[in-house]
Amino acid sequence: MNASVRLSVSSLRAHKRRFAGTFLAVLLGVAFLAGTLVMGDTLRASFSTLFGDATKGTDAVVRSADAITTPGESQGVRQPVDTALVKTVERVPGVAAAAPDIQGAGQLVGSDGKPVGGQGPPTLAGNWITDPKLNPYRLAAGHAPSKSGEVVVNRGAAKKGGLKIGDTTTLRTPGPVKVTIVGLATFGGEDGMAQVTFTGMTQADAEKYLTAKPGEAANIRVRAGPGVGQAELVADLTPVLPKGVEAITGQESARENTDMISSQFLNIFTTLLLVFSGIALLVATFSIHNTFAIVVAQRTRENALLRALGASRRQVTASSLAEASVVAVTASAVGLAGGIGIAAGLQTLFPAIGFPFPQGDLVISGLSMLLPLAVGIVVCLGSALLPAVRAGRTAPLAALRETAVDGSGASRGRAIVGAALAVLAVGATLTGVLVSPSLWLAGLGAVLALAAFVVLGPVASSAAVRALGAPLDTLRGVTGGLARRNALRSPKRTAATASALMIGVAVVSLFTVFGASLKATMDQTVSRSFAGDVAVSTPSFGAGGSGLSPELAPAIARQPAVRYAVGLGRGVAQVDGKGRALTVTDPVTLGKVFDLGEVRGSLDDLGADGIALTRKEAAEQHLTTGDTARLTFTDGTRENFTVRAVYGRSELAGDYVITRAAWAPHRTQDSDSLVAVTFKNGVGTADGRAAVEKVAARYGDPEVQTRDEYARSSAGGIDMMLTLVYALLALAVLIALLGIANTLTLAIHERTRELGLLRAVGQTRAQLRAMVRWESVLVAAFGTAGGLALGAFLGWVLVEASDGASDSAFAFAIPPVRLAVVALVGLAAGALAGLRPARRAARLDVLRAIATE
């Protein structure tokens, strides 16, 4: 064996503990990364199989060719096809069966009176296709709906809502429909298509409740006769289809559906996880580098002796690197295995917590093996490179000196470079945020700020620890004082240790500040533009929920206590060639309940051919009152609308407003997303609210909220997102804590004799433990303080940059309570990290410690 390799192997064996922290940091980061990749691939493959299985009886799908896609939406809106086309299709040779597929939104109400699902995944309703081969759902129990009011629901939805066969409940479509469950269905053998709920009704019911007019279906599913291939079938179908209608193969349709799920959910999910594993690995880089740097410093005499005995610089460096390689390779390999284990564990865990993920074999691609391995090894070796080079530079004479721990402060060069970076960072962000709004410049500034913090760490650490630790001397006496001085001993080391935690805390605070700002923005939006007293809405996120019945607003308006009630519906159209969302409402009342800012022209007389739009859109499309806008609807009709009003504030009202009369010919399943209500003068909130609630109860019982409640619930999704982010950041923080614990353990090893002396002259074990813990807390406090400052700054940059980049005004808010909690958690985590090193230090044998060499 090569001498340097032999040396490093024996030193690794002798100092296993020293590298335990490094090993764990690499392992955790790699496991997270590998787990994410494997789980993403597996889910993608499972969904693909699931769709393939469920729709394998469908050989072709006939649908409208054009879709109108509005910004921020992946799936366009298609015009329905005429169900009469089914007859035409059935007559085509090679077609065995065809069935209309009517799709709409329908949210079930569970046995507890609460709506089922709606928190992201769609809540679907449709006709129960009687041909079992064409129906992607299979009847698992009961029978198919045969008369009006009978429905089949997917098993997952029934479980979640506590519903069983024979139960009668309400289906919000969005108008309440009384339904009796007569059957339970599965999708591709599972309880459902992930969390999507499905209610299948008779075709007549579906046409009645889910479409704007009877005789429409989202598409037509076609099954081929024996010996007819999918492509052949499509070729046969195409000539008989009217203009604007196309046929695609069943496989293509399944792939489109899988892609949609991937882009809407899986990609976002895996990207999010990848970003956070990146953060975790960045944090790991700092603690690994720190460990290697300390180990090299502690081994100065040993390395110097090697050099004195004739080892070349290269050999010493190589031996250090070889050591790092062993750690890197084994930790990455174990991490990879761990990641695959995590993915497998989640696969079994998700169904157990009521999250029906499609089952299937784990998909472990070459990329998801190689990438985590490569990243783990690069991170580990990269972090060890500099310390290894430094080890090689050890002067042979150092063998004769006492082991010197680097207690030097920050060099002047570092201070200058750091200050320059800080100036650049502030300059770039201020320019990017205030002078000429640019996300890129602001982003560059943010990265520079992070770099400045890391470079300036050692410069700031002495002063910061002195300040943060000042209360310790009085609070904890000599124990606190000793802890504070220990933290001050090596500013570089303290800073490097704290940097890891700083990054974690910075990201946490960044999201906390940004989340609070979003909430404040939402609040501001509601309080500024919502002039009503109560809002009626169905709390839902993403594609879930079915909205409100369009009949609700008129019904509320008829109440004696109510002055105005306006419902906001949604439509889509291409305005001068670009897909846009339209607000379908009564513009006259809209202007009364919402503050639309300055209005040019009049909303009073939009009529069936008039449109109102925001000033921003007007400027972009070069439109002004009296001009003509060309709207193309999903049914392919083009109509000219006259711009009758331009208003200043979009926010809740949306960018384009048309009347219900104008939308009626093009409407699909009608629903309102919000009904805003203003009471008559002298009607108290409680009375008015009770009156509105009474009406709402007849329309599927949506939630009636005051203005404040509405603002708060609009921001509800932000809290959910923040919780997820906190959970994901826990790993980065954990790795940072491992770093602190590891540094402390190494420091204790260095100070063995000193600790022995303290014990000999009367420091109790409890005092010794407290001393180590407080040192840990101080290092954590430094990292937390830096992280809070950096995170708040980056949060401000993000908010201001978003403000500059979008038309709606963003509010910046600092949430003091949440940040205080972050700070406390940081400190508590520091105490936690110090526990083990403190225990180990306290177990020290006094005699062995003070024994001279």
């Binding site: 000599v478 000793l482 001050l488 009367g762 001279t852």
Partner: protein, 252 residues
């Protein structure tokens, strides 16, 4: 001094046995030693390497525990104390001077001196500390860090710290081992002065006859047994006695 019956012992051991290891590799570092260290006296423990002199000191001072027998500080039997009580006893009633690494590098000279008092949360006597600082002659160095002092100065700080809490007894383990002869002489004089002028008790382990000559009495240890005592030692007498061990052969 007075007669044996009135002698109060500041520390001591009775039938002390200390065995390291077990079975074939067991080593009896102390083999039935009984010795008392009279209060107000300067006692030196001498013996060749491996005679058990350091073990005796460590056990008597409560840094190590005996395999059998008893160790006392004053009238307190150490075997009855748990680690915490033992630590508190060391803090309040015992002082230490070691061969090397006697000071906490992060603390100033003044803080090092009052360290045991600070650990106890006690104020201590201002005048006593003041007097100590003057005796060891470090008034102008009080706010320096140990790294800024010479080896001799560091050891003088250690002596001051050992006496800061007015302990019943101060144990010194080869206090001059790392010092040149002049600095060593200073430290020994300090210890002697503390005993004679300030009525303190010092027990010192050394292998240096010159150092032992500063003591009031020398006890000789060989192979874990107490073999001799010598009142009013001189360097020559001690050296002769030590030579006698060598001629008799190290092991018996």
């Amino acid at each position: 001094m007075t007669t044996a019956t009135t002698t109060r012992h500041a520390a001591g051991v009775a039938d002390a046995v200390k065995v390291y290891g077990s079975g074939d590799t067991a080593v009896r570092a102390l083999d039935g030693v009984s010795v008392g260290f009279p209060a107000g006296r300067f006692t030196a423990i001498m013996g060749p390497s491996g005679s058990g002199k350091s073990t005796l000191m460590h056990c008597a001072a409560g840094l190590d525990t005996l395999t059998s027998g008893a160790a006392f500080i004053g009238d307190t039997p150490l075997s009855t104390l748990d680690d915490r009580r033992l630590t508190l006893l060391r803090r309040d009633r015992v002082g230490f001077v070691f061969q090397a690494f006697n000071l906490i590098p992060t603390l100033t000279v003044a803080e090092n001196i009052t360290l045991p008092l600070d650990l106890a949360g006690a104020k201590g006597s201002r005048e006593w500390i003041d007097a100590l600082v003057d005796v060891v002659g470090l008034r102008d160095r009080l706010h320096h860090r140990p790294a800024e002092l010479s080896g001799g100065q560091q050891q003088r700080v250690a002596v001051a710290r050992a006496f800061a809490g007015r302990p019943d007894v101060v144990f010194a383990d080869e206090p001059t081992g790392n010092l040149d002869s002049r600095s060593g002489e200073e430290v020994l004089n300090l210890l002697g002065r503390a005993v004679r002028r300030m009525d303190r008790t010092v027990v010192m382990v050394t292998h240096d006859p010159v150092a032992a000559a500063h003591a009031d009495e020398v006890v000789f240890l060989a192979d874990g047994r107490l073999v001799d005592r010598m009142e009013s030692p001189t360097a020559d007498k001690v050296l002769d006695r030590m030579k006698a061990f060598d001629t008799k052969g190290g092991r018996s």
